[in-house]
């Protein structure tokens, strides 16, 4: 094992390394790491989630000896994002510099994913909203089921995306489209998301993991990098750029 194991699970997983926390779990199988948000149905991103995710991103993910990573939500959805009510409560009471540091830690943890020099693929089923969508944006690739739904609705609540959305969205869909999507906060279904370049492929829900695994194998094989980046106008992952 290449990292310390914090296992709370009672079930033995002899061949797979396994980390199970309250909001998120990490498994490895056949050289691919699977990071799953595991509070179905919403897989919401509250303070507890960010606590656990920041730890994982800083202390565990960079040390994994895997060739690719898949990020997904358990159950029907990827993530509904931050719980608005709790979030607004917290923000209105506490506007100290500590809050700023805390938020910066959160966004830095997403950036760690982007900086990994192995392909990170978001597998999106159902809703992918707010900071949930920002997590998907931080990945190198996004594959979604046909009924997946994407939105950055923060401006509808008087706020704005604060976990990298305003920086990353335009790299996928272009500046004009990003301005329009963020200011309106409107949602996109998978087909439109693919047309705009927000996601790379659509697969039936039952094939999503296989598609993600295939994509990872193609990318790391180096034999067909064009396939992995075809149709992209922007944002070709760094590790694909140089030979």
């Amino acid at each position: 094992m290449t990292y310390s194991l914090k296992s709370i699970s009672a079930e033995p997983y002899p061949d797979e390394t396994f980390v199970k926390l309250k909001t998120v779990q990490l498994e490895e199988s056949d050289g691919i790491a699977y990071l799953t948000l595991n509070r179905r149905p919403k897989n919401e991103m509250d303070a507890l989630f960010f606590n656990e995710f920041v730890w994982l991103a800083r202390d565990v993910l960079p040390n994994l000896k895997v060739k690719g990573m898949i990020i997904q939500g358990s159950g029907r959805h990827f993530s509904s994002g931050t719980e608005m009510a709790e979030f607004k409560n917290g923000l209105s009471i506490d506007q100290t510099p500590d809050k700023e540091k805390l938020f910066m830690k959160n966004v830095a943890s997403f950036q760690i994913l982007s900086n990994l020099s192995l392909p990170v693929v978001a597998v999106v089923r159902g809703c992918c909203i707010g900071s949930g969508m920002e997590l998907a944006l931080a990945c190198h690739f996004r594959i979604a089921g046909p009924n997946a739904m994407f939105a950055l609705p923060e401006t509808q609540f008087g706020l704005m995306p604060g976990c990298g959305g305003t920086i990353r969205l335009q790299e996928l869909v272009g500046r004009g489209r990003a301005i329009e999507l963020i200011l309106t906060g409107r949602s996109l279904l998978a087909e439109k998301a693919r047309e705009y370049g927000l996601i790379d492929y659509i697969s039936p829900n039952k094939d999503l993991l296989k598609s993600a695994e295939l994509l990872i194998r193609q990318v790391i094989s180096g034999k067909n990098p064009g396939m992995a980046v075809s149709g992209r106008r922007y944002n070709i992952p760094k590790f694909l750029k140089s030979p």
Binding site: L91, T155, L159, M160, G174, R175, E180
Partner: protein, 243 residues
């Protein structure tokens, strides 16, 4: 060429005024401070840029250019200064849409490409005729942001000098919509309104500033600034909505 400014219902309008073709006699076609001042107007939530009369802008006045070429160093300085005007438009912290009728060529096309959105009438024409005149686009056209036009289209248009119509421009992703001439201004303004009507000005400016930051700063810097802007917006929102 003179610029005319007006604001109606929080939507600003900038008119390129040198009919019939609204040509640029001088690369510095407006005082940069005047342009910035208008774009920072607290009444403003979005801006339409359009040409007086039947055309958007056919670019530099060639007779003036020939005269200016007698002093290439001075011309170079003027062009560098003029290009800053396009940056001011491009990095405006309110959404900017070009409403294009008739010819949109050369520097005119470069001005349109600096905008966040482009809407055009059925009879509009786009192109870079510079190469036909033994020149190259020198007003940021060769660096037109990929947000507005793909590299392939850009190279093809610049080298061939050919003109394309509204339909081809829409297919190439250069313009959002082709509109009947009579509805061009109204529908462009309506598009902007649908994005900004329900958003307070400070929120619009924060979102756009953050989106632009990804082009001005390193990734980490831009992410930090997004957090700061996010907290500013949240603070203002809670102050205005204290129950």
């Amino acid at each position: 060429m003179k610029l005319e400014y007006s604001i109606d219902n929080n939507i600003g309008k900038i008119t390129l005024n040198h009919p019939p073709y609204n040509t640029l006699v001088d690369p510095v076609f407006e005082n940069p401070d005047r342009l910035s001042e208008f774009l920072e107007n607290p009444e403003l939530k979005a801006v339409v840029i359009t040409g007086k009369g039947k055309h958007f802008c056919t670019g530099a006045d060639l007779n003036s250019l020939a005269v200016q070429l007698n002093d290439p160093k001075a011309l170079q300085d003027r062009m560098d200064e003029g290009k800053q005007l396009l940056n001011i438009i491009s990095f405006a912290t309110v959404p900017v849409a070009a409403a294009i009728r008739g010819s949109c060529m050369g520097a005119g096309f470069e001005i349109a490409l600096a905008c966040h959105f482009r809407f055009a009438s059925e009879n509009s024409l786009f192109g870079f005729p510079e190469t036909d005149h033994g020149l190259i686009p020198g007003f940021s056209g060769t660096m037109a942001t990929l947000d507005a036009i793909s590299r392939e289209t850009l190279i093809s248009l610049i080298l061939s000098g050919r003109m394309i119509g509204a339909a081809e421009a829409k297919n190439a992703g250069i313009i959002e919509e082709v509109l009947p001439t009579g509805e061009l201004l109204a529908k462009t303004a309506a598009f902007l309104e649908s994005m900004v009507a329900d958003r307070p000005q400070y929120q619009i400016r924060a979102v756009l500033e953050s989106i632009h930051n990804s082009k001005k700063f390193s990734r980490d810097e831009a992410l930090k600034k997004e957090t700061a802007l996010f907290l500013e917006v949240a603070k203002k929102y809670f102050k205005l909505n204290r129950k």
